[in-house]
């Protein structure tokens, strides 16, 4: 459906043009992009503060064989000292029915801010990683993932 979006702008233009179609389907499907929920989930974490791009590195495959298990890792540049450390890392999926994925709470004892996990993505979309610093600042990185479905759809066992 999405022909290798080369920029987030193109991606969102494509999404927007399908917005009407998605909205109709989503009423039945219950799996839909929900920009309001996505924004609210981020707002709950940041309290409306500015989220700057940088310091965070989100490592996620651009193409995933199966949306059920997508390997994801996040590292954040930080000395992780008592005065300057990463308090938390939050992951969000804009097109999942529920935008929160995981919130991880760290401290200076971590030594470095580096986590890895496996997540579920309902559809091709952008994943956002937001780091909350001890000084109250917020930083983010994003990653676009194309989800391919299994070739032979199966019924439950």
């Amino acid at each position: 459906m999405f022909e290798n979006p080369t920029s987030r702008r193109q991606f969102f233009v494509a999404v927007g043009s399908l917005g009407a179609m998605l909205a109709v389907r989503s009423a039945q499907a219950q799996v839909a992009a929900n920009p309001a929920a996505f924004g609210a989930a981020i707002g709950k974490v940041t309290g409306g503060a500015e989220v700057k791009k940088g310091r965070v590195k989100l490592d996620i495959p651009p193409l995933s064989e199966n949306g059920n298990t997508v390997a994801t890792s996040v590292t954040v540049e930080s000395p992780m000292t008592a005065k300057d450390y990463v308090k938390a890392i939050h992951l969000f999926a804009e097109k999942n029915p529920q935008p929160n994925i995981i919130s991880v709470h760290l401290g200076p004892r971590a030594g470095k801010a580096a986590i890895a996990t496996r997540i579920r993505l309902a559809d091709t979309q952008t994943v956002t990683a937001i780091a909350e610093m001890s000084d109250g600042s917020f930083w983010q990185d994003t990653g676009d993932v194309i989800i391919t479905l299994g070739a032979c759809l199966e019924d439950p066992v």
Binding site: P97, N100, S103, V104, H105, K112, A114, I115, A116, R120
Partner: protein
């Protein structure tokens, strides 16, 4: 049969940053799936994961339905001293699981 795979280095040097890998068996039912007759399958997920090191919490994670089944979480900590790491998972329907691992720090 809740089983967990914990990977903590058996030994470390004092001050070394070690990587801890955890994997626990759990279906992480999202609550968004339906049966073939349209009934919603209720949510059943692990919601919290914590790790303590000699009693002090060094890591905590809040999990949501978007975490893959059989949650896998890797994190780091500074090897401050010999002792025990205790891993705790709690979730819906009273789910709890605990595992522990010892480490020797010279």
């Amino acid at each position: 049969m809740a089983r967990a795979l914990i990977n903590v280095p058996a030994q470390a040097k004092r001050g070394e940053i070690i990587t801890i890998k955890t994997l626990i068996s759990h279906t992480m039912e999202t609550g968004f799936r339906h049966t073939s007759v349209g009934a919603t399958i209720p949510r059943d997920i692990i919601t919290t994961f914590t790790c303590t090191y000699n009693g002090e919490e060094i890591f905590r994670a809040d999990l949501f339905p978007a975490m893959a089944a059989n949650p896998f979480i890797t994190f780091t900590t500074i090897a401050t001293g010999s002792g025990t790491l205790v891993f705790n998972w709690t979730g819906d329907n009273g789910f709890t699981a605990t595992e522990s691992s010892t480490i020797t720090v010279e």
